[in-house]
Assembly symmetry: C2
């Protein structure tokens, strides 16, 4: 079963927002055994929308559309759908009740433009929007299903989980797709490929292997397609085991999880904790840990010490260390990581200090100069890195490198 | 001038990664006066790639392709391009030198599979890849330009900035596109639309207005298209001024900047500073501030106090407050924000404490219960919010709401 996703709205095409909706929908659909053939982002333009729908229909059975359902004039998806299906508008009572409910909840007057949100194409089935005023719409035509949803992420997500997926499962007989991902750290993709070449060459046609490199990590993803779920799972497990045996310690996790989650899992197994002392990453490492449910079991917290003063007062970095060696130095990184370990009473700590840029560089310490420290009880490892001159990338690379160092420290033990 | 972006790779279609490349490319191209007609994500499949190229050619003059250039077997973009253009492969000396340079730099042996990266379609012009082994490729055919680039973000970005944009500017006469965005906080899009209906109705055909809502904020984007840059800028400025006059204090920034950046700009003008004390947002607010260049001028740092102990030791929250009222309470939020102000010696502070979920909720304090405090010298404002049950959304909504409260505090003065 194939689906396509069409996102409508100029904001993606001018790069004002990143399309996170499509990735989320793709995950949900894949888990339900529906493959995504194509994701297209198109403009709020009638002819373009009509063409994209016609093209998608040629390739897929399910067409999921997001965006362009707001109450304002630039939103034309609903009107265009009436043309595509050659139907008129009707007022939907359920959708109108929902609009009234939401305006009553926030105690705001109902404007005519809001009331129009309850006008829908005559051939659609309305999907209730728990979190907003624009109703979702489900269409059946010539064996194809079209679903139009709002582009606001939490409105769309609720609709997909509560209504679209159950209806798709009831409508189609779905095949099985199983993915298994291994997270590797510290080896480039061509070296990994060389080490597992014979295993890859011997893969049967219904199992695919993909390499997904990202900042010092490579994810190896096995994907299996078939009708027999148990046999498929067995195949995937067997090939994953072959890869795991071959690659050994390079593998940080045998799931499609983030590196920091793999670290927290290891810590949780051992009943241990971690804290952070962040200068140039400015809270990003803490955010990586705490975005995961259950992080409070192993992550105690930490300090974002941008200023000298906070490095001294929260972390106990010595004033003379800062003035003698500078904030970006081996000595400061060492005192930061050991200070975090001591003051935050964790079993492990990460500290980073550096010049993320674009300003602040000197001849001695150009932008991209970063010191990273990781420490456990009785052992501290501090290393210098020289990254590039892009702030965002420096923050991300520093975070991933620091996590990689902590993972190595944990794995060695 | 119209362009399309085609991203190749199953990882986007199964939702394993979010396509951030396209948004970035779209921003760069728009700034150069090139509009993006469509962004398509397709699979590593020969027929699909050929079809997508043929469709894109019908709509656009410039086709930018990313992904599928790695050294491993799942990467078939280059081979498919030789079929599309009906040419053979040649070894490119410059590309080979680049591969050798990179392997020498990391002191790794050059594998045959890496050497093959220097094989390119015979009709292409090679674009040097400063940050990786896969060369970029520039093709001219029948008045259309095709550019194939690696999907690894920092490889692609360097190539676009240093080579693709200059070549596009040299190849085409480009029209002007000017965008102007106003950031509004605290009003829904339909209320904004009602208040500016007459201005919107009177917009000339070459000026478009879009509403971009996101978590308590709505961006109003004016886009102008034309050949006369000065006249276009004047038009855009005039309409922006009309909107600004009408909407008044709802406008947090007259640029397409993030709310936290608007706050830092206000603080910098006044020579003031801010710090944070984060529990349930776990460093995310600090990260929002520090992702921006120059944030150290106003952002001092703060604490990520996940545990009771850190709330006491770093922020000075009283032990009896925590045990009597709990970590998620008005009392704790108040002591956290006032503790941050005092201990971090900033002019303003933000504190948040709550239950981000999915675990940790109780009958009294269900998941989504959040207390937010903002404070300046002599004034503290603490409010309770009840958000939903999704962790990621709760973290983001809490952060934006806290920033909105601080912005209001700053604007009132």
């Amino acid at each position: 079963m194939l689906a396509e996703i069409i996102t409508i709205g100029d904001e993606i095409l001018i790069g004002q927002i990143v399309d996170t909706n499509s990735a989320w929908m793709a995950q949900q659909l894949n888990a339900a055994g529906i493959r995504i053939k194509q994701i297209s982002s198109i403009s709020d333009d009638k002819e373009h929308i009509l063409k994209a729908l016609a093209e998608a229909k040629q390739r897929a059975d399910i067409i999921l559309i997001t965006g362009g359902l707001g109450p304002t004039k630039d939103d034309i998806t609903k009107k265009t759908l009436t043309e595509y299906f050659n139907v008129g508008f009707v007022e939907n009572e359920e959708a109108l009740e929902n609009v009234k409910r939401i305006f009553a909840k926030y105690n705001r007057p109902l404007l005519e433009v809001n009331r129009q949100q309850a006008q829908v194409p005559a051939n659609c089935e309305v999907l209730n929007n728990q979190n907003g005023t624009a109703p979702g719409m489900w269409f059946n035509q010539e064996g194809k299903v079209y679903v139009s949803m709002p582009g606001v992420p939490h409105e769309m997500m609720y609709m997909v989980e509560q209504q679209v997926l159950p209806k798709l499962k009831a409508t189609f007989k779905l095949p099985f797709i199983i993915h298994k991902t291994l997270l590797t750290v510290g080896e480039g993709e061509s070296f990994l490929a060389e080490r597992i070449a014979d295993i890859e060459d011997a893969l049967p046609a219904h199992i695919k292997l993909a390499y997904l490199p990202k900042l010092g990590q490579v994810r190896l993803r096995l994907s299996g397609y078939g009708d027999n779920e148990a046999a498929l799972q067995q195949d995937i497990d067997n090939y994953a085991a072959l890869l795991t045996d071959r690659l050994g310690k390079v593998i940080a996790a045998e799931d499609d999880i983030a590196l920091e989650k793999a670290i927290m899992n290891k810590l949780e197994e051992r009943g241990q904790t971690v804290s952070v002392a962040e200068s140039c990453t400015g809270g990003y490492i803490a955010h990586l840990f705490t975005q995961h449910a259950g992080s409070s079991a192993t992550f105690l917290g930490g300090a974002v010490s941008y200023s000298y003063e906070l490095k001294e007062s929260i972390l106990g970095v010595k004033n003379e260390t800062l003035w003698q060696h500078g904030a970006v130095s081996e000595e400061t990184a060492t005192e930061m990581v050991e200070g975090a370990l001591l003051n935050f009473k964790s079993d492990y700590a990460i500290a980073v200090t550096g010049i993320a840029g674009p300003g602040g560089g000197t001849d001695d310490k150009p932008v991209g100069t970063i010191w990273i420290g990781v420490a456990g009880k009785g052992k501290t490892l501090v290393k210098k890195f020289t990254f590039g001159n892009k702030r965002k990338q420096n923050i991300e690379r520093t975070a991933i490198t620091a996590l990689g160092m902590l993972n190595t420290l944990l794995t060695r033990e």
